[in-house]
Symmetry: C2
Subunit: 246 residues, 2 copies
Amino acid sequence: MFGQMAEPAEVAHPYYPLGVDIPHYAANTLPLPVILGSLVGMLGSAMLATSTLALRFNPSLGKGQLVIFCWFIVCYFVLNHATVASSQNLFAQLWKEYALSDSRYLTSDPFMLSVESITVFLWGPLSFLCAVSIVAASPLRHPLQIIMCMAHLYGVALYYSTSLVETHFTGRSHSRPEFLYFWVYYVGFNFPWVVVPAFLMYDSLKTISRKLRSFEQVKIGLKGYEARNGSAKTAVVSKKAEKKEQ
Amino acid sequence: MFGQMAEPAEVAHPYYPLGVDIPHYAANTLPLPVILGSLVGMLGSAMLATSTLALRFNPSLGKGQLVIFCWFIVCYFVLNHATVASSQNLFAQLWKEYALSDSRYLTSDPFMLSVESITVFLWGPLSFLCAVSIVAASPLRHPLQIIMCMAHLYGVALYYSTSLVETHFTGRSHSRPEFLYFWVYYVGFNFPWVVVPAFLMYDSLKTISRKLRSFEQVKIGLKGYEARNGSAKTAVVSKKAEKKEQ
């Protein structure tokens, strides 16, 4: 699967497939621990700052909700910086390191360009909206969460499969073959976007279905009560609910 | 944008980019009106048969719901036959005609292979499940509908954009340049999967959000009523609702 291609006379960059055209390549200037440390620091302070704000707006937020809130904040930050230039800013250097596991980030691959554009314009803002809807306890929270999770799941499924299908059919791999790059970076770093959205989507499906079911039960219960007791008060409540529901 | 490539000495097939490798190509044996007529006939009878069944199971289905039911049935049929062989069965001939507008269906394009596999294994069955959930008036109907619509919207967005991005960057087009193939087949035939899912998703978001909101109101209304009247009956209904909701 890997290493089937002969190494060309001069390789100006470390990316696979060897010799692939990467215009304006400039090697990273920062050492890896600095890049990773800065990332962790940035994401950490973003989570801390936004969580503090969130709790001020809605002090009744539970721990679980706060964790999900932070997940969407992290998504927002990561997704909105998923564009790599030849520049040497922190995120650009981070992506150039990551691209060792997938050179499509640097080669204007049509699939990656499409996904990145849609991601920056839609999924980034939508992640942020999901975080906000948790704090606002919006009735749109779970529907939005399902949309967002679907985008992540479908996106990561296509991200894995397009590259594996290409390797399978042509022998060309976009990932360096070392364990660190293929398994840790390529498979591992994307795996949270399989596990977490799957869990959150299951949770949202369950929550919506349960609330809608008990809404129907309350309606049936109220109708039975009215039929026996003719209470004006509950009749109003139930009528209101029925009207809303149509 | 089109026609930038010189025509090779011998073109064994009519697909773009000219001269692209299509293994085992066999020209269609049926005339186009026969292919299209058979498709319309098949989809029509599928809709008729399944609608009859649906109405037998749930006679209270409204017209609007029946139309949406038919949409998912059509999706199911189209999606589950989105695989093209060199065979000459009806759907294979249909796809070979359609591929004049997008040769990626015949060239083992990694993106198309990935999308097709996911489509056959996930989105086909899910379309069918959406249709069933309408008939069953399931509380999962709208959440499933959101998932399905997201898959269609994201899928068609990537389908359009991957190909347009590639044409933009490399000048290679997978579509024949004629109006019929580019605008009618490629743009037009896929456009229902932009419009209909967008509308259905909006509808599902609105429905879920309204039901959840009135569920909260009923709960608040019941609590107020209990506080004033202490009715054991409504207390039971409301407790039940509250327990379910946790």
